[in-house]
Symmetry: C2
Subunit: 251 residues, 2 copies
Amino acid sequence: MRNIETCISPELIHLHDLTQKTVVVVDIFRASSTMVTALSNGVRCIKPLSDLDECRNYKNKNWLIAGERNGQQAEGFDLGNSPLSFLGNAFAGEKLAMTTTNGTRAISLAEADSEEILIGSFLNLQATVDYLQISDRDVLVLCAGWKGKFNIEDSLYAGALSLTLGWKHDCDATLAMEAVFQQAGENLSFFLEKASHAKRLQNHQLEKDIDFCLELNRYNAVVHLDEGLLKVKPAAAKQRRLSPEGNSLQS
Amino acid sequence: MRNIETCISPELIHLHDLTQKTVVVVDIFRASSTMVTALSNGVRCIKPLSDLDECRNYKNKNWLIAGERNGQQAEGFDLGNSPLSFLGNAFAGEKLAMTTTNGTRAISLAEADSEEILIGSFLNLQATVDYLQISDRDVLVLCAGWKGKFNIEDSLYAGALSLTLGWKHDCDATLAMEAVFQQAGENLSFFLEKASHAKRLQNHQLEKDIDFCLELNRYNAVVHLDEGLLKVKPAAAKQRRLSPEGNSLQS
């Protein structure tokens, strides 16, 4: 029996055993959605960094730098944290250093003990599910949350992932989030209108980002951490053909 | 506008501001259900204690002592953590010292900063709602969880409380748990069959405890912490008449 569990905040990660597990890091609004979009649009690799200054230093090495704090682009950075910036292969071939409020911190927390780190988003849900099904590892979904607190969009992803995988499990958080995802139904945007982070982004006039981040299975990429760099996993890219507007989620 | 928020684990309590708030501590299986039941069956007061030995010392002061660790009665204690032990006014007039794995710890965490602490359970949901409606304080639901992790039955209570209060809020955890409670519908037992703690109790043949703890509005008591002792709040007891099998929850 394969197992899936959900850690609903990075502050609770010490309660989970990560050894020999695949950790799927998720920060729907917007870090993980942006990472998947960038790599699906030709960006060669992404260096996730917790520290703003450390990220800024990559500019001197001719990397593109993307930085966000509290939903706003950080000063002196090429880009903020919008997935839309990368559409149309706008930065194909570039190397990207990236730091965000919650997402990159979650990755660094998972890095020490886990066997493998994937980046999850609704945009590549089915591709990630397909990969996990043929892998033999148990799965922990690590929700980036908002400054340590429970965050509904990341947890919704955990529910969607678990329902799509269809594995038995005994994780209460996963069970709850499956119920939330089922309750939200097909209209994630409508459901998330009341969510706190969606409201924050709406205040910054980022509604288009919200809608984009909630699109299911736009990309076929499995994104993993490879020696400290986020890349598309090559084998998975060959398994399935790209179906940009496909939606194979059955819930 | 009155606000309600949910802290889904005691490990995240430092992220919440408790000042001037009513904290509703909830540990459905079984500490908070047992506290409400004991006090509704004539127990004079309950001293909640985190430490097993400190609790044991109350025996010498002629208190009844109840102690549980990992779902089992602790050695040398008069009682474990079953609400059923207190039915029929079995220990009316007694003073009770009580320690449990998760519940009493949650109370002591909330004690320092909050304005008021209530004990929440499905057994006294409506009574608690009625009291909160006439109070003027914001509410934080503190879920005891299981050894720091998210726990579905405590979070379900948070959803039920918030839906019954009907206040606007911008707490993602509360929003999610409202959806879970709505998804569970009227059959909480069926929904919780898959929950991890319910399974633990089933292994100890405590199905009757589970069913009892999920009963809605059996008691009309509002239970609060008064100078370190849990007691029934007298004013609330006068407001409504006892309706043992009543169920006024509208969801």
